[in-house]
Symmetry: C2
Subunit: 431 residues, 2 copies
């Protein structure tokens, strides 16, 4: 056996073995099932967009990472997130959508990043968004949190959602009359935990804002609780709006009956520079904080101002599915078990396969994934197929069985073998 | 409302409205569920490949249609089918797969075709393949037919699978000593039905094979039944192998209990020029033959000879999902009904949402997709949301209901409204 060409997938592109893929799909399905349970509608947008559509929305680092190419005269690009296609979709189909529009999207996006551990160039995102036409109730800011909490619970992962509101930053910057340095400060706050308080304070001093403003920033960054916020000296309109929105969200999380351990106020989360204008979220796995945020999002004033002169406010979250799976796999959190979805392997031992075909039809009608062993060769080799894949039951159909109208079923885990009639057979499999 | 940019999807890229997307996903799920029921394992390959991987497999027209581009130094390309990634995958993961390897893939492929009605540049294919290591039982040629028949039955579409075997062509061409013109003749046979017998015969005459060979070709093309095949003057080894394989397939379809109306021998199907070496299939919808083949495939000697010096025979089928859906939609076969998956809209009529949240949790735990109406405004507007989307039930929770610990449920189709306790509520919804 000699390879004549490099057949590994491209670097930064995840390609899973069967046992891993089965697990990945399980997680993907859990997310999708919950999106549906909360009333989100499936969407499926093209992976390729006009370059101008992406360029209007991309900025800075992202812009560099876009896969761009020409086909004929057209300037094309691969989508780098699922928000840009959502914005284009909502504008394009505006007249046909019912608002508030609740859509979910699970699909691949492309980022030509420098390949490194844990970074992918092709990655799944799993997003929900609720878009209003002109206005959108703050209750939806609560609902997306409820969705995220339910998903991580169903996945068996302890998650904690950190919640903040961008209006608090806006109000504060307005009060201390900072405009052009605001982004630099937000970037530092975003890195606060990573680089440590001391280093962050050093960096802020480098901005030369003067000792008065510096002190005010340090005071602001010492805020932790709702009481702190309410007693803070800044109380302009935008700041108060932020605090009141945050309080609304927290009160409703209590009304929803969500365990307080699953969320917390965190005045240091920022969620990037642009885009978000109200509530923002980040989610950490309690047992694996080093993975970073596995589900983030927030509220935005205007989904598609680049495409349309119309106010379309929204709120949404995005789960970075590929990265989450990769990290959980590497940490050994996931048990890659069987390499099959098949429950039953039927093993015909005569040349007449009609009884086997018939049983397979019956089992499949009962939604039991079933294979027939068509392999030639020794019994050991044929059983090995079931063993290696992890198929739990093998059913033997030989002359004896056909004559007596029974089946011999073997539990591959316990090794237990018994001769049963059809009804009993179904009980054994479904037990 | 003024658009500032063209927001329609690219020409040749399908993007569906909610009601359509819901139907599309239903069809996709029916296909996937059946692939699983027959024991196929999920695969998910990258959409981007190294150009050399595709170039090694692509030829002629396909080669022109590939989306190619560079990122950094790498020559990349978008996959144009799901077979090339399968071949690369099987070679790359050869040591970790259990053979016969049964894999399914449902994903997007890219073909930069000239855009025209019914042609797509981004299209879903839904494929299954069984790959053997060195050898592969002919029973699998039967199994893929059984899968296809089950799928179209579940979709409520009358389908007929036409079956042929490439070895019959090979044997015949060998017997009449035709080599270089073989492809031209196959192309003509492929077009036979479209252009008509007369025109096809004219074209064959243009090849200047001499009257003797022409006559033999016309005789060959008059063959229709197994009896014809067995009485034909060509009986070399490869021809006889083809006939015997075909007979095996038909005998087993009978043993499988499949209605004879669902398949037929068709000695004029060809399935392209390269690749297939044994059984070949095409599927037509009985009521819409003009759509052409909606599910095709066949047996190949060697999946990955371009990548590895190793014999990996296989057999598979591919459903052209995007094209199938598009055609059925245009013909009005599909009833685009509701624009939602939601079963229940809870409509709180007090400021305390906790009862509504609690009921939503109960319903979602019972796998009933549920929304809460967070809209402000008049009752009529809020009910309109349910009406327009097609949500079947609305549950009102007002002061009266909270006091009495009941729910008022309205069937949106019949208009019937009743006050019920929780247990009764669940019965009404699930009825």
């Amino acid at each position: 056996m000699k390879k004549t060409i490099n057949t590994s997938p491209l670097s930064g592109f995840m390609e899973l073995k069967p046992a891993e893929q089965i697990l990945f799909n399980k997680i993907k399905n859990t997310i999708e099932d919950n999106y549906k349970l909360f009333g989100f509608i499936p969407m499926d947008n093209p992976i390729i967009e006009r370059q101008e559509i992406l360029d209007a929305k991309a900025g800075g680092e992202t812009e560099q990472q876009i896969y761009k190419f020409k086909k004929g005269d057209a300037n094309l690009a691969l989508r780098f997130d699922l928000t840009v296609p959502l914005a284009r979709y909502v504008v394009d189909k505006y007249g046909e959508l019912i608002f508030p529009f609740k859509g979910y999207r699970i699909g691949k996006v492309y980022r030509g990043e420098r390949p490194q551990a844990g970074r992918f160039r092709e990655l799944y995102q799993a997003d929900i968004d609720i878009i209003g036409d002109g206005e959108l109730s703050l209750d939806f800011d609560v609902e997306v949190i409820a969705v995220a909490i339910k998903i991580f619970k169903d996945l068996g992962l302890k998650a904690k959602i950190r919640i903040n509101n961008r209006k608090i930053f806006s109000g504060f910057f307005k009060a201390i009359e900072i405009e052009k340095e605001a982004n630099d400060i937000l970037i530092l706050i975003d890195k606060w935990e990573k680089i440590g308080q001391e280093k962050a304070e050093e960096e802020i001093k480098k901005l030369n804002l003067g000792i008065l403003k510096e002190e005010k920033i340090f005071d602001f960054l010492a805020l932790k609780t709702f009481d702190d916020l309410e007693e803070f000296w800044v109380q302009n309109e935008i700041f108060k709006e932020g605090v009141s929105e945050l309080k609304f969200v927290f009160e409703n999380l209590t009304a929803l009956g969500i365990d307080e351990k699953q969320y917390k106020l965190d005045l240091k989360i920022v969620r990037g520079l642009a885009y978000y204008t109200g509530t923002i979220y980040e989610t950490q796995l309690v047992d694996y904080p080093e993975i970073g945020s596995v589900c983030s999002g927030g509220r935005y004033e205007n989904l598609a101002s680049e495409y349309i002169n119309k106010k379309l406010p929204g709120v949404g979250i995005s789960i970075g599915l590929t990265r989450l799976f990769d990290q959980l796999l590497k940490k050994g959190v996931l048990n890659t078990g069987v390499s099959t979805l098949t429950k039953v392997l039927i093993l015909p031992m005569t040349d007449d396969f009609s009884i086997s075909f018939n049983l397979a039809n019956i089992l499949r009608d009962k939604k039991i994934p079933t294979e027939i062993s068509f392999m030639n060769g020794k019994m050991k080799k044929r059983l090995n197929y079931a063993n290696k894949l992890g198929i739990p039951f093998v059913i033997f159909i030989g002359e004896e069985e056909i004559k007596k109208n029974v089946y011999t079923i073997k539990n591959m885990e316990t090794g237990q073998q018994q001769e049963v009639v059809l009804k009993k057979l179904l009980n054994v499999i479904n037990f």
